[in-house]
């Protein structure tokens, strides 16, 4: 718990400093071509940018602890409200991508491992190599060209909101989720394959087979369970990467999620939003990692944390 808090504090400091050393003064960007010395000074004062950086940081952290992440310069709305509203797109998108990734990668990895050095294995490896090589935004464009432009099955992008119905929501997130999960799917399939291959060579697997345990039982009860530790580790890290990947794919599919919010906030130098989103995403990733650590203990009762 202390490590968790320390990590978050470090992240908050890092993001605060990085955002401030970026070239480009938010006051200039707000005022644009009409700025003069007086108006720049006034806007800087309004934004609190005239205070010493330590004072600014202390203000921000104490407010953030009570859930107040400040106000967006660009939208004039509370940052927390903006994050929550965008989360209704990004969270389902990430979860759908994760579900698709896990549902496709683990069975395929298992299949490849059990068909080691046979055609099925080679095919899986080629597929996953492609998945690693093709960047998500390009895969996204190809998917749009095929499923939206050519076949007309789904819209090319945009999100009409959950108010239009659950299925319509899922439908508009489907292509971006596939594009988003593609790379992670490939990595997870390869990890599953190699982890399982390693376990399948272990003595106790031979013993289980010698005892006459059915192949299905050997595979799922003995081998896969023991291979899960590296798989869960990779999957946990990937969940964080999926969140990060949404920044690009939300632009390709023009989804109003956290990623696009971040991108727009960076170019508009909307510092409270950039800081707020990065802190929020970092907290999510730290939490996921903590959950993965707890999951280790369940998967392997020998692992205990002091």
């Amino acid at each position: 718990m202390a490590a968790l808090a320390a990590t978050l504090l470090f992240v908050s400091l890092l993001v605060f400093v990085v955002v401030r050393v970026l070239p480009g003064d938010p006051a200039l960007i707000i005022l644009g071509l009409e700025a003069n010395a007086d108006s720049v000074a006034r806007v800087r004062r309004e934004l609190g940018l005239d205070q010493p950086i330590t004072v600014q940081y202390a203000h921000w952290v104490t407010r953030a602890l009570s859930g107040d992440l400040g106000r967006s310069i660009q939208y004039d709305l509370p940052v927390a409200t903006l994050i929550l509203s965008r989360l209704t797109v990004t969270l389902p998108l990430t979860l759908l991508a994760a579900a698709l990734m896990i549902a496709a990668a683990i069975p395929l990895g298992v299949y490849a491992a059990t068909h080691h050095r046979r055609w099925g294995d080679y095919l899986t490896m080629v597929l996953s190599q492609l998945g690693v090589a093709v960047p998500g935004f390009w895969a996204g464009l190809l998917l749009i060209l095929l499923f939206s432009v050519q076949l007309g099955w789904v819209q090319a992008g945009g999100f009409d909101g959950w108010g239009q119905g659950f299925w319509r929501g899922v439908r508009s997130l489907l292509l971006p989720a596939v594009a988003l999960g593609l790379f992670q799917f490939a990595v997870l399939a390869r990890t599953t394959r190699s982890a399982l291959l390693e376990v399948l060579r272990e003595e106790y697997v031979k013993t289980a087979r010698a005892k006459g345990v059915a192949e299905r039982g050997v595979l799922f009860r003995h081998a896969l369970r023991n291979a899960l530790i590296p798989i869960v580790t990779v999957a946990g890290v990937q969940l964080g990467q999926l969140l990060a990947g949404s920044i690009i794919l939300e632009s390709v599919f023009y989804l109003p999620g956290l990623g696009r919010l971040t991108l727009a906030a960076i170019s508009a130098r909307d510092l409270p939003v950039v800081q707020g989103v990065v802190l929020f995403v970092a907290s999510m990733i730290v939490t996921v990692n903590a959950a993965v650590d707890i999951l280790y203990g369940i998967l392997d009762p020998r692992i205990r944390y002091g």
Partner: protein, 499 residues
Amino acid sequence: MMRLLLAVLIAAFAAAPAVTLAQAPNGLVIQVATEPPGLDLTSNPSSAIAAVVFDNVQEGLIKIDRHGKMVPWLAERWYTSDSKNYTFFLRKGVRFHNGRELKASDVKFALDRAVNPETKHPYRVQYDVIQDVIVKDDYTVTVALKRVDATFLYTVARQGSVIYPREAVDTLKSQPMGTGPFTVAEWVRGDRIVLTKNKDYWVKGLPKLDRVVYRFIPDPNAALAALKAGDIDVSAFGIGPESVDELKKDARFQVIVGDTTNDVTLSMNNSKKPYSDKRVRLAITHAINKEEVLKGAMFGYGKVLGSNVDPTNPYYVDVSKRVGYDPVKAKKLLADAGYPNGFEAVFKVAPQYYYTVRSAEVVSSQLAKVGIRASIQQIEWGQWLSQVFCLAPCTNPDYDMSIIGHAEAFDIGNFANPKYYFRWDSPEFQKLFRASESAPDDKTRRELYVKMQDMLADEAPAVWLYMHPRLVVTKKGVTGIWKDLPLPVLDLSEVAWQK
């Protein structure tokens, strides 16, 4: 797990027909590249705000129509005897979206607020000329000026002079209210803005659409895909010139190519050697083949320019041949100026505007042929504003050359401002400009504008490369979209689906 997921996916495809916002009856979905930074025309000069609000939600006393002509709008006529006192007669029965009738006191409120330095009006300098706004009666208002100002009526027609009810001044940023053909129904931040028809609009028969959805799609490829997939009906600012030929051949679409006030300008730092030498500036101008730049950067769309005044301006004269492409002459001028072997230079450009980098690439290869070795440095927009455009606290611009589009109409005054980032200080030109601002009649003003254009071409404080074209792609059947843009606006009042 696999089966469950498959079932979910199949259900998602089957249960929801591919209906998008585009198919709303008598509605229109428009793609724009940039989400407006708020919706207040009186606080920010952004053209993204104008695209949504100006002439659609809020209107002014005078309107610039699609041909660039000033037409009476909320004022049904105006009158001046001395070019210093303008009396506007308001149209009766015009109502704001809240149902209240527009009165002369609203005009006074809006103009007083523009003059007031506290309100951060983006074009405050242009309102400085206003001495007083006097309400004569409910429908008559007189604006007294400190001096004759030839651009005053244009100031009244521009986006910063829209009239809004004073009781709605606090919500201008998120829920602007006005007298326009549409009202703002919804703004889903980061995704879309929805306008709905103002049923009590004072112009009978308008607007023709019931509903307009603006979708923010910054990526040109995504915009093209959305257009082809039928998700959007119009791409207003987003399709690049490279896609135009392909879309022209596609029977599903119509491509509108028109003129704009956006002059893509190669700026030079006139306060710095060697650009302070007129011979060097002329050499650079002679070294550039603008037709080739237009082909290379814009696939031939747009028009070559010779000065800061573009074809949408009523005083435009073609001076593009005055200092034409002539590399031999360029080399001679460089030698005369003491640079027989040319010199090194850096182009600072902001890739946020795609045409800047493309144009700089073509231009630098042309300059290389006369010995000017120009490298390209891409910098982020915020840096461009502080280094090149030299916004405060910068006091001296830090650049050799740059390229950017200047979209303001009637912005020749920038060259009469020695503090502007070109840093061109010509008392003779400044005198001409001042005379044009206080010209007693249109004929005199036109003559002065012609002189200024000739002088700009001959002195070459910058190189005016080309007018950025207006490129709009719509589905077949969409009518009423403006072909040319005499000012940054996206007027949708007359847009309709062909029956």
